[in-house]
């Protein structure tokens, strides 16, 4: 019985980390057009998230957690827009290094993992109910 309850704890941790991942993705998508405000300023830098396995000492279960929310160090693309307040001498404006297509693909993946965790919880619940039904 303890194992099944622990199963739910593990899956819940998985759902929580996927939720955090979705938050990071939404921040990126929302800021896909956050341009710099003045010359020499930098636009929004894409955030990344990584996961790690961590031991929960209270239950002795290996839970999944967020390792760190970092930034994407890739170069900023630029766009020719001489009228923009943040344009450099040549008339180019730096734009955020967010690729909406990548973010959408990431979002689908997070959604799929979330669903998988949810299904494990459902299966475990069915198992628990079966066991309790033996008493009836």
């Amino acid at each position: 019985m303890d194992d099944v309850l622990r199963t739910m704890r593990i899956s819940a941790a998985g759902m929580r980390t996927q939720g955090t991942r979705l938050r990071v993705i939404s921040e990126n998508v929302a800021n896909a057009d956050s341009l710099p405000t003045g010359p020499g300023d930098l636009p929004y830098r894409r955030k990344t998230i990584s996961f790690k396995n961590e031991l929960d000492r209270a239950t002795g279960a290996d839970l999944v957690g967020v390792e760190k929310i970092g930034v994407d160090a890739s170069a900023f693309p630029s766009r020719y827009e001489p009228g923009h307040p943040a344009a450099d001498a040549a008339g180019y404006v730096l734009t955020p290094n967010v690729n909406t297509l990548i973010e959408m693909t990431d979002m689908r993946e997070a959604e799929r993992s979330y669903e998988a965790n949810l299904n494990v919880i459902k299966a475990s619940k069915a198992m628990l109910n079966e066991t309790i039904d033996v008493l009836r």
Partner: protein, 134 residues
Amino acid sequence: MDATSPELFGALKQRLRWLGQRQEVLARNIANSDTPGYRPRDLKPFAFSGLVAEPRQAVALSATDAGHLGGRRRDPAAFASRRDRAPYETAPAGNAVVLEEQMAKVNETTVSHQLATGLYRKHLAMIKTATGPR
């Protein structure tokens, strides 16, 4: 065979424990389906020898001083798990969890659990019939 034999109940109990523990291992795999470098695990198949073997006794180190560390003792009755040697595929980040494979295993575990509890209930009903007033 004696209908009230405790062996069958014992075997079913072991089976249910194995299934519960397997579910935990699979849940860990699915929760880590996006963790870089994570390799999925699975329990060793449930063997007949596990049913007839004498259960090992848990012996804890006694702590006679406040400075002694208790340590995390592994449950001796726990079933052994191992790494999946031949996963379907490994992602570039080193993660070898395939959600479809893991979900199929979860489903398999749930169905086996249904079977085991069903058998348990039938057996119990049989004893109740034998001991009942009518």
